[in-house]
Symmetry: C2
Subunit: 177 residues, 2 copies
DNA sequence: ATCAGCATGTAAGGCGTTACATGATTCA
DNA sequence: TGAATCATGTAACGCCTTACATGCTGAT
């Protein structure tokens, strides 16, 4: 069974743009990426260690004063691994919508509960939508730079799907009333 | 840390409609539910055993001839657990789009690779869309029955979001060309 | 002085996938 | 006769989350 851990590719991808510490990587993931992928320290630090052993990244001590700080840089081998993954056409897109699960079995608790669950979902989407639009707007003026085009496209993916969610919420609420 | 295993709720939800074997449960999950939740035998059978110990379901031997067959039925306690979960307003909706991850880091391998990845995604969505529309159409004529309304709503969620995906694919391809 | 943020990491445990193991029945 | 489907389960392994443990720095 081949290695499957995708966090390695997230890290490699981020390091392909700039050198970062584990802490920085976490912050990046919590930004524009968090809409379609997550990561945690308990996830990131062990991956960093493994990848260094494999020669995909190298570390350097960038401590300032008494504060420990380790900055990682991607190697040529790491770039190759990243590129190989990008060129592999198969991609697993996994969704786990607990909201839809609850709706599917909505008959057990009745319409009021189903409506409430949809409303909670709607509120959360609206909150996230504001953030997504912020990302997109910031990127719009710099689409000439190729990297920004890619970031922009992932943001518009989020916006389009979130708009679809909100449209569906309206329709679903109407059908339940 | 409270129990988090959602497969229990999927099973309880399915059993709230009809008695089923583990094998049946797997087939149900692979049907209309598979768009937003997955399950495997290695997942389902142990859950079934645990839930029986907890009194949420009861089993009965329904073997036919030499073929082993265990049918499960939900208990009042199970119904209560299901209802409690439905009424709990918090729901985790987690997405892991490897396609978007690849797009986000598209700069490393270039536009051709990014385009190819979008095209593969698009083809898969088109395939699944046909199935979703099939489900929705079959349900449309029976929306008077409350349960079917819920099933229908989850199907339309899928259709609306998949349509958004396809629109985005068109736009993204155009921007990359 | 205290709190938020910077910074690294480990440990326990849960959850899930995949592969394996076994065997019956039905249908072509 | 052989393949697909029905049917139950276990074992190994991998991945991730959560909580814990520790300590520095800068701002209020």
């Amino acid at each position: 069974m081949a290695r499957e851990r995708k966090i390695d590719m997230v890290i490699l991808g981020l390091l392909s743009h700039e050198d970062l510490t584990g802490y920085d990587i976490k912050k990046r993931i919590d930004g524009a990426i968090s809409f379609f992928w997550k990561g945690s320290f308990g996830n990131i630090y062990p991956a960093l260690k493994d990848m260094e052993d494999q020669g995909l990244i190298v570390k350097s001590d960038t401590s300032v004063g008494g504060r420990e700080r380790i900055t990682y840089r991607i190697t040529d081998q790491g770039r190759e691994a990243l590129s190989g993954w990008l060129k592999d056409e198969q991609a697993s897109n996994e969704l786990r919508y607990e909201t839809l699960l609850k709706l599917f079995f909505g008959g057990v608790a009745g319409k009021e509960v189903a409506l409430k669950n949809i409303e909670v979902f709607e509120e959360n989407i609206k909150k996230d939508m504001a953030m997504l639009k912020g990302f997109a707007k910031a990127l719009e003026s710099r689409l000439g730079e190729e990297d920004h085009l890619y970031f922009y496209l992932t943001a518009t993916f989020g916006i389009e799907t979130y708009e679809a969610y909100l449209r569906w919420c309206m329709g679903a609420k109407k059908m339940l009333k």
